[in-house]
Protein backbone atom coordinates (compact mmCIF):
# COMPACT_ATOMS: atom_id res chain seq x y z
CA UNK A 1 0.00 0.00 0.00
CA UNK A 2 1.56 3.34 -1.04
CA UNK A 3 1.85 6.12 1.47
CA UNK A 4 -1.52 7.92 1.65
CA UNK A 5 -1.91 11.45 0.26
CA UNK A 6 -4.30 12.35 3.02
CA UNK A 7 -5.10 10.88 6.40
CA UNK A 8 -7.98 11.73 8.65
CA UNK A 9 -7.99 10.45 12.21
CA UNK A 10 -10.83 10.53 14.71
CA UNK A 11 -12.66 13.31 12.84
CA UNK A 12 -15.68 14.75 14.60
CA UNK A 13 -17.73 17.82 13.85
CA UNK A 14 -20.34 19.13 16.23
CA UNK A 15 -22.72 22.01 15.63
CA UNK A 16 -25.18 23.18 18.28
CA UNK A 17 -24.87 19.90 20.17
CA UNK A 18 -25.49 17.74 17.10
CA UNK A 19 -22.70 15.46 15.93
CA UNK A 20 -22.69 15.73 12.15
CA UNK A 21 -19.56 13.63 11.83
CA UNK A 22 -18.35 11.28 14.54
CA UNK A 23 -15.02 9.52 14.87
CA UNK A 24 -14.24 9.05 11.19
CA UNK A 25 -10.77 7.83 10.27
CA UNK A 26 -9.75 7.22 6.69
CA UNK A 27 -6.84 7.46 4.29
CA UNK A 28 -6.81 8.65 0.69
CA UNK A 29 -4.18 6.68 -1.22
CA UNK A 30 -2.84 7.91 -4.56
CA UNK A 31 -4.34 6.29 -7.63
CA UNK A 32 -7.65 5.24 -6.13
CA UNK A 33 -11.21 6.43 -6.61
CA UNK A 34 -13.06 6.33 -3.33
CA UNK A 35 -16.78 6.86 -3.23
CA UNK A 36 -18.71 8.01 -0.16
CA UNK A 37 -22.33 6.90 -0.05
CA UNK A 38 -25.01 7.29 2.58
CA UNK A 39 -28.55 8.52 3.14
CA UNK A 40 -29.49 12.22 3.32
CA UNK A 41 -28.06 13.90 6.38
CA UNK A 42 -25.46 11.19 6.95
CA UNK A 43 -22.73 13.84 7.04
CA UNK A 44 -21.20 13.19 3.60
CA UNK A 45 -20.82 16.82 2.56
CA UNK A 46 -19.64 17.83 6.02
CA UNK A 47 -16.99 15.11 5.89
CA UNK A 48 -15.86 16.39 2.49
CA UNK A 49 -15.64 19.93 3.79
CA UNK A 50 -13.54 18.71 6.73
CA UNK A 51 -11.21 16.78 4.44
CA UNK A 52 -10.63 19.71 2.07
CA UNK A 53 -9.80 22.08 4.92
CA UNK A 54 -12.88 24.25 4.61
CA UNK A 55 -14.17 23.34 8.09
CA UNK A 56 -12.09 22.81 11.22
CA UNK A 57 -13.01 19.57 12.98
CA UNK A 58 -14.23 19.69 16.58
CA UNK A 59 -11.97 16.72 17.32
CA UNK A 60 -9.38 14.83 15.34
CA UNK A 61 -7.38 16.10 12.43
CA UNK A 62 -6.68 15.98 8.71
CA UNK A 63 -3.17 15.85 7.29
CA UNK A 64 -1.92 16.09 3.73
CA UNK A 65 1.19 13.91 3.84
CA UNK A 66 2.92 14.96 7.06
CA UNK A 67 1.32 18.43 7.17
CA UNK A 68 -1.82 19.19 9.21
CA UNK A 69 -4.23 20.87 6.81
CA UNK A 70 -4.69 23.99 8.95
CA UNK A 71 -0.95 24.78 8.70
CA UNK A 72 -0.94 24.81 4.89
CA UNK A 73 -1.48 28.28 3.40
CA UNK A 74 -4.58 28.43 1.18
CA UNK A 75 -2.69 29.15 -2.05
CA UNK A 76 -0.47 26.08 -1.60
CA UNK A 77 -3.42 23.93 -0.53
CA UNK A 78 -5.16 25.00 -3.76
CA UNK A 79 -2.35 23.32 -5.72
CA UNK A 80 -2.68 20.11 -3.67
CA UNK A 81 -6.41 19.58 -3.82
CA UNK A 82 -9.37 20.71 -5.89
CA UNK A 83 -13.07 20.57 -5.04
CA UNK A 84 -16.03 20.26 -7.39
CA UNK A 85 -18.99 21.75 -5.52
CA UNK A 86 -22.65 20.98 -5.94
CA UNK A 87 -24.42 23.28 -8.40
CA UNK A 88 -23.14 26.84 -8.25
CA UNK A 89 -24.91 29.98 -9.42
CA UNK A 90 -23.05 33.09 -10.51
CA UNK A 91 -24.15 36.64 -9.76
CA UNK A 92 -22.54 38.03 -12.93
CA UNK A 93 -22.63 36.91 -16.56
CA UNK A 94 -19.14 35.40 -16.77
CA UNK A 95 -18.45 33.51 -19.97
CA UNK A 96 -17.78 29.79 -19.86
CA UNK A 97 -14.10 30.34 -20.67
CA UNK A 98 -13.89 32.99 -17.91
CA UNK A 99 -15.28 30.58 -15.33
CA UNK A 100 -12.91 27.78 -16.30
CA UNK A 101 -9.99 30.22 -16.41
CA UNK A 102 -10.56 31.13 -12.74
CA UNK A 103 -9.09 27.70 -11.97
CA UNK A 104 -5.82 28.74 -13.61
CA UNK A 105 -5.56 32.28 -12.32
CA UNK A 106 -4.10 31.81 -8.88
CA UNK A 107 -1.92 28.74 -9.02
CA UNK A 108 -1.05 29.10 -12.69
CA UNK A 109 0.18 32.67 -12.34
CA UNK A 110 3.77 31.67 -13.02
CA UNK A 111 2.93 29.71 -16.17
CA UNK A 112 3.45 30.96 -19.70
CA UNK A 113 0.35 32.35 -21.38
CA UNK A 114 0.65 29.64 -24.02
CA UNK A 115 0.65 26.83 -21.44
CA UNK A 116 -2.34 28.31 -19.68
CA UNK A 117 -4.24 28.59 -22.95
CA UNK A 118 -3.43 24.96 -23.71
CA UNK A 119 -4.62 23.83 -20.26
CA UNK A 120 -7.85 25.77 -20.68
CA UNK A 121 -8.51 24.36 -24.12
CA UNK A 122 -7.80 20.81 -22.98
CA UNK A 123 -10.09 21.11 -19.95
CA UNK A 124 -12.97 22.56 -21.94
CA UNK A 125 -12.60 19.83 -24.55
CA UNK A 126 -12.38 17.09 -21.93
CA UNK A 127 -15.82 17.90 -20.50
CA UNK A 128 -17.36 18.61 -23.90
CA UNK A 129 -18.05 22.33 -23.45
CA UNK A 130 -15.46 23.77 -25.89
CA UNK A 131 -18.26 24.81 -28.22
CA UNK A 132 -19.82 26.85 -25.38
CA UNK A 133 -16.62 28.77 -24.52
CA UNK A 134 -18.00 32.22 -25.31
CA UNK A 135 -21.52 31.63 -23.97
CA UNK A 136 -22.61 33.26 -20.74
CA UNK A 137 -22.48 30.70 -17.91
CA UNK A 138 -25.87 31.89 -16.64
CA UNK A 139 -27.63 30.87 -19.87
CA UNK A 140 -26.49 27.23 -19.66
CA UNK A 141 -28.54 24.31 -18.39
CA UNK A 142 -27.75 22.86 -14.97
CA UNK A 143 -25.87 19.96 -16.50
CA UNK A 144 -23.81 22.20 -18.74
CA UNK A 145 -22.98 24.43 -15.77
CA UNK A 146 -21.83 21.40 -13.81
CA UNK A 147 -19.52 20.40 -16.68
CA UNK A 148 -18.07 23.93 -16.84
CA UNK A 149 -17.35 23.74 -13.11
CA UNK A 150 -15.60 20.43 -13.70
CA UNK A 151 -13.52 22.08 -16.44
CA UNK A 152 -12.60 24.78 -13.92
CA UNK A 153 -11.52 22.06 -11.47
CA UNK A 154 -9.50 20.28 -14.18
CA UNK A 155 -7.75 23.61 -14.89
CA UNK A 156 -6.93 23.96 -11.20
CA UNK A 157 -5.47 20.45 -11.06
CA UNK A 158 -3.45 21.01 -14.25
CA UNK A 159 -2.01 24.25 -12.89
CA UNK A 160 -1.53 22.73 -9.45
CA UNK A 161 0.46 19.86 -10.92
CA UNK A 162 3.21 22.35 -11.74
CA UNK A 163 3.74 23.09 -8.03
CA UNK A 164 2.50 19.95 -6.25
CA UNK A 165 3.11 16.36 -7.34
CA UNK A 166 0.59 14.82 -4.95
CA UNK A 167 -3.01 15.85 -5.50
CA UNK A 168 -6.45 15.03 -4.16
CA UNK A 169 -9.71 15.69 -5.99
CA UNK A 170 -13.01 15.99 -4.13
CA UNK A 171 -16.31 15.67 -6.01
CA UNK A 172 -19.58 16.50 -4.24
CA UNK A 173 -22.39 14.75 -6.08
CA UNK A 174 -20.78 15.48 -9.45
CA UNK A 175 -23.37 13.58 -11.47
CA UNK A 176 -26.52 14.99 -9.89
CA UNK A 177 -27.64 17.07 -12.89
CA UNK A 178 -25.95 15.19 -15.73
CA UNK A 179 -27.45 12.95 -18.39
CA UNK A 180 -26.22 9.35 -18.58
CA UNK A 181 -23.55 10.01 -21.21
CA UNK A 182 -22.04 12.88 -19.25
CA UNK A 183 -22.31 11.00 -15.95
CA UNK A 184 -20.17 8.31 -17.51
CA UNK A 185 -17.80 10.80 -19.12
CA UNK A 186 -17.26 12.72 -15.87
CA UNK A 187 -16.60 9.63 -13.80
CA UNK A 188 -14.37 8.24 -16.57
CA UNK A 189 -12.35 11.46 -16.37
CA UNK A 190 -12.17 11.09 -12.58
CA UNK A 191 -11.07 7.47 -12.90
CA UNK A 192 -8.44 8.51 -15.44
CA UNK A 193 -7.10 11.13 -13.02
CA UNK A 194 -6.96 8.42 -10.37
CA UNK A 195 -4.94 6.18 -12.72
CA UNK A 196 -2.54 9.10 -13.14
CA UNK A 197 -1.94 9.13 -9.37
CA UNK A 198 -4.52 11.60 -8.07
CA UNK A 199 -6.46 10.53 -5.01
CA UNK A 200 -10.14 10.95 -5.88
CA UNK A 201 -12.92 11.15 -3.28
CA UNK A 202 -16.47 11.44 -4.62
CA UNK A 203 -19.87 11.62 -3.00
CA UNK A 204 -22.45 9.75 -5.08
CA UNK A 205 -26.10 9.01 -4.50
CA UNK A 206 -26.46 6.45 -7.24
CA UNK A 207 -25.25 3.18 -5.74
CA UNK A 208 -24.97 1.58 -9.19
CA UNK A 209 -22.62 4.30 -10.42
CA UNK A 210 -20.74 3.99 -7.16
CA UNK A 211 -20.42 0.22 -7.62
CA UNK A 212 -19.20 0.65 -11.19
CA UNK A 213 -16.51 3.24 -10.46
CA UNK A 214 -15.41 2.91 -6.83
CA UNK A 215 -12.16 1.22 -5.94
CA UNK A 216 -13.27 1.64 -2.35
CA UNK A 217 -16.75 2.34 -1.10
CA UNK A 218 -17.16 4.27 2.16
CA UNK A 219 -20.61 4.05 3.74
CA UNK A 220 -21.58 6.86 6.07
CA UNK A 221 -24.60 6.68 8.35
CA UNK A 222 -25.53 9.25 11.00
CA UNK A 223 -22.06 10.73 10.90
CA UNK A 224 -20.26 7.42 11.34
CA UNK A 225 -18.30 5.32 8.91
CA UNK A 226 -20.19 2.02 9.01
CA UNK A 227 -18.47 0.11 6.20
CA UNK A 228 -15.59 0.45 3.81
CA UNK A 229 -14.05 -1.78 1.20
CA UNK A 230 -14.49 -2.88 -2.42
CA UNK A 231 -18.09 -2.45 -3.62
CA UNK A 232 -18.62 -6.18 -4.02
CA UNK A 233 -17.88 -6.71 -0.34
CA UNK A 234 -19.71 -3.69 1.00
CA UNK A 235 -22.95 -3.74 -0.96
CA UNK A 236 -25.04 -6.41 0.74
CA UNK A 237 -28.77 -6.78 1.29
CA UNK A 238 -28.38 -6.25 5.04
CA UNK A 239 -26.38 -3.04 4.64
CA UNK A 240 -28.87 -1.63 2.15
CA UNK A 241 -31.70 -2.42 4.55
CA UNK A 242 -29.93 -1.03 7.62
CA UNK A 243 -28.39 2.13 6.21
CA UNK A 244 -30.78 3.13 3.46
CA UNK A 245 -33.88 1.52 5.02
CA UNK A 246 -35.19 -0.03 1.84
CA UNK A 247 -35.41 -3.70 1.08
CA UNK A 248 -34.05 -3.51 -2.42
CA UNK A 249 -32.19 -6.61 -3.51
CA UNK A 250 -28.50 -6.50 -4.43
CA UNK A 251 -27.60 -8.49 -7.51
CA UNK A 252 -24.42 -9.07 -9.48
CA UNK A 253 -23.65 -8.48 -13.14
CA UNK A 254 -22.22 -11.79 -14.40
CA UNK A 255 -18.82 -11.14 -16.08
CA UNK A 256 -16.94 -9.54 -13.15
CA UNK A 257 -19.48 -9.70 -10.38
CA UNK A 258 -20.14 -5.95 -10.25
CA UNK A 259 -22.92 -5.50 -7.71
CA UNK A 260 -26.08 -3.58 -8.50
CA UNK A 261 -29.05 -2.45 -6.49
CA UNK A 262 -32.42 -2.93 -8.09
CA UNK A 263 -35.16 -0.54 -6.97
CA UNK A 264 -38.37 -2.27 -5.97
CA UNK A 265 -41.76 -0.71 -5.60
CA UNK A 266 -42.93 -0.78 -2.05
CA UNK A 267 -46.71 -0.82 -2.08
CA UNK A 268 -47.18 -1.14 1.62
CA UNK A 269 -50.73 -1.02 2.78
CA UNK A 270 -51.09 2.21 4.80
CA UNK A 271 -53.01 0.34 7.49
CA UNK A 272 -50.04 -1.91 8.22
CA UNK A 273 -47.29 0.69 8.13
Amino acid sequence: MPEPLLTASGLAYTVAGRDLVQDVSLAVPPGALQVIVGPNGAGKSTLLRLLCGELRPSRGGVAYGPEPVETIPPWRLAGMRAVLPQAARLAFPFSVADVARIGLDGIGRGLKARDRAAMLERALGQVDVAHLADRSYQTLSGGEQARVQFARVLCQLAAGRTIADRQVLFLDEPTASLDLRHQGALLDAAAELARAGVGVVAILHDLNLAAAYADTLLVLDQGRLVADGPPAEVLRDTLIAQVFQVSWPVGQVPPNGQPFVLPRRNVADPQHS
Partner: protein, 352 residues
Protein backbone atom coordinates in the same frame (compact mmCIF):
# COMPACT_ATOMS: atom_id res chain seq x y z
CA UNK B 1 -7.41 29.12 -26.84
CA UNK B 2 -6.89 31.57 -29.60
CA UNK B 3 -9.23 34.01 -27.90
CA UNK B 4 -6.90 34.60 -24.93
CA UNK B 5 -4.62 36.98 -26.85
CA UNK B 6 -7.57 38.70 -28.52
CA UNK B 7 -9.12 39.18 -25.10
CA UNK B 8 -6.03 40.80 -23.67
CA UNK B 9 -5.94 43.11 -26.71
CA UNK B 10 -9.61 44.05 -26.25
CA UNK B 11 -8.96 44.79 -22.57
CA UNK B 12 -5.97 46.99 -23.35
CA UNK B 13 -7.99 48.79 -26.02
CA UNK B 14 -10.86 49.45 -23.60
CA UNK B 15 -8.51 50.84 -20.95
CA UNK B 16 -6.71 52.96 -23.57
CA UNK B 17 -9.98 54.46 -24.79
CA UNK B 18 -11.12 55.18 -21.24
CA UNK B 19 -7.80 56.84 -20.42
CA UNK B 20 -8.18 59.06 -23.49
CA UNK B 21 -11.70 59.89 -22.32
CA UNK B 22 -10.40 60.87 -18.89
CA UNK B 23 -7.79 63.20 -20.41
CA UNK B 24 -10.29 64.79 -22.79
CA UNK B 25 -12.86 65.32 -20.03
CA UNK B 26 -10.21 66.76 -17.72
CA UNK B 27 -9.10 69.21 -20.39
CA UNK B 28 -12.73 70.20 -20.97
CA UNK B 29 -13.34 70.63 -17.26
CA UNK B 30 -10.31 72.87 -16.80
CA UNK B 31 -11.37 75.00 -19.78
CA UNK B 32 -15.10 75.36 -19.10
CA UNK B 33 -16.81 77.75 -16.73
CA UNK B 34 -17.51 81.41 -16.17
CA UNK B 35 -14.24 82.20 -18.01
CA UNK B 36 -13.79 79.99 -21.07
CA UNK B 37 -10.25 78.95 -21.74
CA UNK B 38 -9.61 77.05 -24.99
CA UNK B 39 -7.78 73.70 -24.67
CA UNK B 40 -4.64 75.13 -26.32
CA UNK B 41 -4.30 77.81 -23.68
CA UNK B 42 -5.01 75.30 -20.92
CA UNK B 43 -2.07 73.24 -22.14
CA UNK B 44 0.06 76.38 -22.33
CA UNK B 45 -0.74 77.17 -18.72
CA UNK B 46 -0.05 73.63 -17.60
CA UNK B 47 3.26 73.47 -19.45
CA UNK B 48 4.60 77.00 -18.91
CA UNK B 49 2.87 77.76 -15.62
CA UNK B 50 2.15 81.22 -14.24
CA UNK B 51 5.51 82.65 -15.28
CA UNK B 52 4.17 84.15 -18.53
CA UNK B 53 2.38 87.45 -17.67
CA UNK B 54 0.04 87.06 -20.66
CA UNK B 55 -1.26 83.87 -19.11
CA UNK B 56 -1.44 85.16 -15.56
CA UNK B 57 -5.21 85.51 -15.31
CA UNK B 58 -5.93 82.17 -16.94
CA UNK B 59 -3.20 80.55 -14.87
CA UNK B 60 -4.88 81.77 -11.70
CA UNK B 61 -8.21 80.25 -12.73
CA UNK B 62 -6.70 77.01 -14.01
CA UNK B 63 -4.17 76.32 -11.28
CA UNK B 64 -6.04 77.57 -8.23
CA UNK B 65 -9.64 76.75 -9.01
CA UNK B 66 -10.27 74.38 -11.86
CA UNK B 67 -7.33 71.99 -11.60
CA UNK B 68 -7.95 71.05 -7.96
CA UNK B 69 -11.65 70.77 -8.74
CA UNK B 70 -11.00 68.46 -11.68
CA UNK B 71 -8.52 66.34 -9.76
CA UNK B 72 -10.90 66.04 -6.82
CA UNK B 73 -13.65 64.98 -9.24
CA UNK B 74 -11.44 62.33 -10.84
CA UNK B 75 -10.38 61.03 -7.46
CA UNK B 76 -13.84 60.93 -5.87
CA UNK B 77 -15.45 59.50 -9.02
CA UNK B 78 -12.81 56.80 -9.34
CA UNK B 79 -13.10 55.97 -5.65
CA UNK B 80 -16.90 55.70 -5.79
CA UNK B 81 -16.98 53.58 -8.95
CA UNK B 82 -14.29 51.16 -7.78
CA UNK B 83 -15.96 50.93 -4.37
CA UNK B 84 -19.24 50.07 -6.10
CA UNK B 85 -17.64 47.36 -8.18
CA UNK B 86 -15.92 45.94 -5.09
CA UNK B 87 -19.14 45.87 -3.07
CA UNK B 88 -21.06 44.20 -5.91
CA UNK B 89 -18.34 41.57 -6.21
CA UNK B 90 -18.09 41.05 -2.47
CA UNK B 91 -21.84 40.78 -1.87
CA UNK B 92 -22.22 38.82 -5.11
CA UNK B 93 -25.12 41.10 -5.82
CA UNK B 94 -25.40 43.45 -8.77
CA UNK B 95 -27.55 45.81 -6.68
CA UNK B 96 -24.94 46.43 -4.00
CA UNK B 97 -23.38 49.85 -3.78
CA UNK B 98 -20.94 51.59 -1.45
CA UNK B 99 -23.82 52.84 0.69
CA UNK B 100 -24.33 49.22 1.81
CA UNK B 101 -21.38 49.26 4.14
CA UNK B 102 -23.13 52.00 6.11
CA UNK B 103 -20.72 54.74 5.10
CA UNK B 104 -23.27 57.09 3.61
CA UNK B 105 -25.74 56.72 6.46
CA UNK B 106 -23.08 57.22 9.12
CA UNK B 107 -21.50 60.12 7.28
CA UNK B 108 -24.91 61.73 6.70
CA UNK B 109 -25.82 61.46 10.36
CA UNK B 110 -22.49 62.85 11.50
CA UNK B 111 -22.75 65.73 9.01
CA UNK B 112 -26.28 66.55 10.20
CA UNK B 113 -25.02 66.53 13.78
CA UNK B 114 -22.24 68.97 12.91
CA UNK B 115 -24.49 71.26 10.87
CA UNK B 116 -27.41 71.35 13.28
CA UNK B 117 -25.81 70.88 16.68
CA UNK B 118 -22.31 72.25 16.04
CA UNK B 119 -23.01 75.94 16.40
CA UNK B 120 -25.28 75.41 19.39
CA UNK B 121 -22.62 73.32 21.08
CA UNK B 122 -19.99 75.98 20.45
CA UNK B 123 -22.27 78.66 21.86
CA UNK B 124 -23.20 76.51 24.83
CA UNK B 125 -19.57 75.87 25.72
CA UNK B 126 -18.77 79.55 25.34
CA UNK B 127 -16.09 78.85 22.71
CA UNK B 128 -15.32 81.48 20.10
CA UNK B 129 -17.56 80.59 17.13
CA UNK B 130 -18.37 79.88 14.39
CA UNK B 131 -17.31 76.28 14.01
CA UNK B 132 -14.35 75.92 11.63
CA UNK B 133 -15.51 74.54 8.29
CA UNK B 134 -13.12 71.55 8.40
CA UNK B 135 -15.15 70.04 11.26
CA UNK B 136 -17.90 69.03 8.82
CA UNK B 137 -15.83 66.85 6.45
CA UNK B 138 -13.80 65.43 9.32
CA UNK B 139 -17.00 64.57 11.20
CA UNK B 140 -18.56 63.01 8.11
CA UNK B 141 -15.48 60.88 7.52
CA UNK B 142 -15.37 59.65 11.10
CA UNK B 143 -19.13 59.04 11.10
CA UNK B 144 -18.92 56.92 7.96
CA UNK B 145 -15.98 54.93 9.23
CA UNK B 146 -17.55 54.24 12.63
CA UNK B 147 -20.81 53.12 11.03
CA UNK B 148 -18.86 50.63 8.90
CA UNK B 149 -16.92 49.33 11.88
CA UNK B 150 -20.14 48.83 13.87
CA UNK B 151 -21.73 47.02 10.94
CA UNK B 152 -18.66 44.88 10.42
CA UNK B 153 -18.66 43.99 14.12
CA UNK B 154 -22.34 43.03 14.01
CA UNK B 155 -21.85 40.76 10.98
CA UNK B 156 -18.69 39.04 12.19
CA UNK B 157 -18.94 35.95 14.38
CA UNK B 158 -15.92 33.82 15.25
CA UNK B 159 -13.78 35.51 12.63
CA UNK B 160 -16.25 34.96 9.81
CA UNK B 161 -18.09 37.87 8.27
CA UNK B 162 -21.53 37.04 6.95
CA UNK B 163 -22.23 39.27 3.99
CA UNK B 164 -25.95 38.46 4.23
CA UNK B 165 -26.07 39.67 7.85
CA UNK B 166 -24.08 42.71 6.85
CA UNK B 167 -26.57 43.50 4.10
CA UNK B 168 -29.57 43.23 6.43
CA UNK B 169 -27.90 44.97 9.38
CA UNK B 170 -26.84 47.69 6.95
CA UNK B 171 -30.44 48.31 5.99
CA UNK B 172 -31.49 48.45 9.66
CA UNK B 173 -28.63 50.75 10.57
CA UNK B 174 -29.36 52.91 7.54
CA UNK B 175 -33.00 53.29 8.61
CA UNK B 176 -31.91 54.19 12.14
CA UNK B 177 -29.44 56.85 10.99
CA UNK B 178 -32.04 58.11 8.52
CA UNK B 179 -34.51 58.54 11.37
CA UNK B 180 -31.98 60.31 13.57
CA UNK B 181 -30.96 62.54 10.66
CA UNK B 182 -34.64 63.29 10.11
CA UNK B 183 -34.96 64.27 13.76
CA UNK B 184 -32.08 66.70 13.34
CA UNK B 185 -33.61 68.08 10.15
CA UNK B 186 -36.82 68.63 12.10
CA UNK B 187 -34.91 70.59 14.73
CA UNK B 188 -32.92 72.69 12.27
CA UNK B 189 -33.45 76.31 11.23
CA UNK B 190 -33.71 77.53 7.63
CA UNK B 191 -30.02 78.14 7.05
CA UNK B 192 -29.09 74.73 8.48
CA UNK B 193 -31.77 73.10 6.38
CA UNK B 194 -30.26 74.62 3.26
CA UNK B 195 -26.76 73.50 4.25
CA UNK B 196 -28.05 69.98 4.87
CA UNK B 197 -29.85 69.81 1.53
CA UNK B 198 -26.86 70.98 -0.46
CA UNK B 199 -24.51 68.72 1.39
CA UNK B 200 -26.73 65.69 0.79
CA UNK B 201 -26.79 66.39 -2.96
CA UNK B 202 -23.07 66.82 -3.27
CA UNK B 203 -20.83 69.35 -4.96
CA UNK B 204 -17.24 69.72 -6.07
CA UNK B 205 -17.58 73.46 -5.58
CA UNK B 206 -15.39 73.81 -2.56
CA UNK B 207 -12.40 72.06 -4.11
CA UNK B 208 -9.00 73.38 -3.01
CA UNK B 209 -5.51 71.95 -3.14
CA UNK B 210 -5.81 71.34 0.60
CA UNK B 211 -8.89 69.18 0.01
CA UNK B 212 -7.16 67.30 -2.79
CA UNK B 213 -4.15 66.72 -0.54
CA UNK B 214 -6.35 65.53 2.34
CA UNK B 215 -8.47 63.23 0.15
CA UNK B 216 -5.75 61.62 -1.97
CA UNK B 217 -4.14 59.44 0.71
CA UNK B 218 -7.59 58.11 1.69
CA UNK B 219 -8.89 57.24 -1.81
CA UNK B 220 -5.60 56.18 -3.37
CA UNK B 221 -5.32 52.91 -1.37
CA UNK B 222 -8.51 51.47 -2.89
CA UNK B 223 -7.28 52.37 -6.38
CA UNK B 224 -3.82 50.90 -5.76
CA UNK B 225 -5.37 47.70 -4.38
CA UNK B 226 -7.27 47.13 -7.62
CA UNK B 227 -4.66 44.87 -9.31
CA UNK B 228 -4.47 42.68 -6.18
CA UNK B 229 -8.21 42.30 -5.54
CA UNK B 230 -9.37 41.32 -9.05
CA UNK B 231 -8.42 37.66 -8.93
CA UNK B 232 -9.90 37.12 -5.48
CA UNK B 233 -13.20 38.72 -6.50
CA UNK B 234 -13.33 36.58 -9.65
CA UNK B 235 -13.00 33.48 -7.47
CA UNK B 236 -15.58 34.87 -5.05
CA UNK B 237 -18.10 35.03 -7.89
CA UNK B 238 -18.24 31.21 -7.59
CA UNK B 239 -18.99 31.41 -3.86
CA UNK B 240 -17.03 31.80 -0.65
CA UNK B 241 -16.23 28.12 -0.20
CA UNK B 242 -15.15 27.81 -3.84
CA UNK B 243 -12.90 30.87 -3.51
CA UNK B 244 -11.24 29.22 -0.52
CA UNK B 245 -10.78 26.01 -2.52
CA UNK B 246 -9.04 28.10 -5.15
CA UNK B 247 -6.55 29.42 -2.64
CA UNK B 248 -8.10 32.80 -1.80
CA UNK B 249 -7.90 34.03 1.81
CA UNK B 250 -11.58 34.90 1.83
CA UNK B 251 -11.88 36.57 5.23
CA UNK B 252 -8.85 38.74 4.55
CA UNK B 253 -10.25 39.73 1.16
CA UNK B 254 -13.60 40.72 2.70
CA UNK B 255 -11.94 42.71 5.46
CA UNK B 256 -9.68 44.51 3.00
CA UNK B 257 -12.55 45.39 0.65
CA UNK B 258 -14.85 46.65 3.39
CA UNK B 259 -12.23 48.83 5.04
CA UNK B 260 -10.81 50.21 1.80
CA UNK B 261 -14.30 51.08 0.61
CA UNK B 262 -15.30 52.64 3.93
CA UNK B 263 -12.23 54.86 3.98
CA UNK B 264 -12.46 55.84 0.30
CA UNK B 265 -16.20 56.55 0.31
CA UNK B 266 -15.96 58.32 3.67
CA UNK B 267 -13.26 60.57 2.25
CA UNK B 268 -15.31 61.16 -0.91
CA UNK B 269 -18.39 62.09 1.09
CA UNK B 270 -16.32 64.35 3.31
CA UNK B 271 -14.82 66.16 0.32
CA UNK B 272 -17.84 66.42 -1.97
CA UNK B 273 -20.94 65.50 -0.02
CA UNK B 274 -23.12 62.51 -0.81
CA UNK B 275 -22.97 61.65 -4.52
CA UNK B 276 -25.23 58.76 -5.38
CA UNK B 277 -25.46 56.58 -8.43
CA UNK B 278 -21.80 56.59 -9.56
CA UNK B 279 -20.95 53.43 -7.61
CA UNK B 280 -23.99 51.60 -8.95
CA UNK B 281 -24.15 52.72 -12.57
CA UNK B 282 -20.54 52.92 -13.68
CA UNK B 283 -19.62 49.28 -12.93
CA UNK B 284 -22.91 48.10 -14.43
CA UNK B 285 -22.54 50.03 -17.64
CA UNK B 286 -19.02 48.64 -17.96
CA UNK B 287 -20.16 45.06 -17.33
CA UNK B 288 -22.63 45.39 -20.16
CA UNK B 289 -19.91 46.58 -22.53
CA UNK B 290 -16.63 44.89 -21.49
CA UNK B 291 -17.90 41.99 -19.38
CA UNK B 292 -17.81 41.25 -15.64
CA UNK B 293 -14.22 40.01 -15.33
CA UNK B 294 -12.86 41.95 -12.36
CA UNK B 295 -9.25 42.36 -13.43
CA UNK B 296 -10.47 44.50 -16.33
CA UNK B 297 -13.63 45.83 -14.69
CA UNK B 298 -11.95 47.43 -11.66
CA UNK B 299 -9.38 49.62 -13.46
CA UNK B 300 -11.98 50.47 -16.12
CA UNK B 301 -14.40 51.53 -13.35
CA UNK B 302 -11.74 53.81 -11.86
CA UNK B 303 -11.27 55.56 -15.21
CA UNK B 304 -14.93 55.80 -16.19
CA UNK B 305 -16.00 56.80 -12.67
CA UNK B 306 -13.55 59.70 -12.68
CA UNK B 307 -14.53 60.80 -16.18
CA UNK B 308 -18.26 60.51 -15.39
CA UNK B 309 -18.09 62.62 -12.25
CA UNK B 310 -15.94 65.34 -13.84
CA UNK B 311 -18.29 65.47 -16.83
CA UNK B 312 -21.27 65.74 -14.49
CA UNK B 313 -19.47 68.57 -12.71
CA UNK B 314 -18.93 70.40 -16.01
CA UNK B 315 -22.63 70.08 -16.72
CA UNK B 316 -23.48 71.25 -13.19
CA UNK B 317 -21.38 74.35 -13.77
CA UNK B 318 -22.71 75.39 -17.17
CA UNK B 319 -26.39 74.35 -17.16
CA UNK B 320 -27.51 77.07 -14.73
CA UNK B 321 -24.47 79.39 -15.00
CA UNK B 322 -23.47 81.49 -13.15
CA UNK B 323 -25.20 79.40 -10.46
CA UNK B 324 -24.18 75.76 -9.93
CA UNK B 325 -26.41 72.75 -9.67
CA UNK B 326 -25.64 70.17 -6.98
CA UNK B 327 -23.69 67.42 -8.74
CA UNK B 328 -25.81 64.61 -7.31
CA UNK B 329 -28.75 65.88 -9.35
CA UNK B 330 -26.70 65.76 -12.54
CA UNK B 331 -25.25 62.29 -11.96
CA UNK B 332 -28.74 60.91 -11.43
CA UNK B 333 -30.42 62.85 -14.26
CA UNK B 334 -27.78 61.92 -16.82
CA UNK B 335 -26.82 58.55 -15.40
CA UNK B 336 -30.27 57.04 -14.98
CA UNK B 337 -31.49 57.36 -18.59
CA UNK B 338 -28.13 56.24 -20.02
CA UNK B 339 -28.16 53.29 -17.68
CA UNK B 340 -31.72 52.33 -18.62
CA UNK B 341 -30.83 52.57 -22.29
CA UNK B 342 -27.86 50.25 -21.80
CA UNK B 343 -29.93 47.89 -19.71
CA UNK B 344 -32.78 47.59 -22.18
CA UNK B 345 -30.42 47.27 -25.11
CA UNK B 346 -28.80 44.23 -23.55
CA UNK B 347 -31.71 42.94 -21.52
CA UNK B 348 -30.66 39.31 -21.81
CA UNK B 349 -27.34 40.04 -20.08
CA UNK B 350 -29.10 41.56 -17.13
CA UNK B 351 -30.89 38.32 -16.29
CA UNK B 352 -29.05 36.94 -13.31
Amino acid sequence: MADTAARARRGALALGLLLALVLAVALLSVGMGAIRIPPGRVLDVLVRGAADPLLARDALVVLNIRLPRTLLGLLVGAGLAVSGALMQGLFRNPLADPALVGVSAGAGLAAACVIVLGDRLVAHLGLPGPLPYAVLPAGAFLGGLSATLVLYGLATRAGRTSVATMLLAGIALGALSGALTGLLVYASDDRQLRDLTFWSLGSLGGATWTKVAATTPLILPVLLAVPVLGRGLNALVLGEAEAFHLGVRVERLKRACILLVAVAVGAGVAAAGVIGFVGLVVPHALRLVIGPEHRLLLPAAALLGGAFLVLADVAARIVAAPAELPIGIVTAMVGAPVFLWLLLGRARLADA
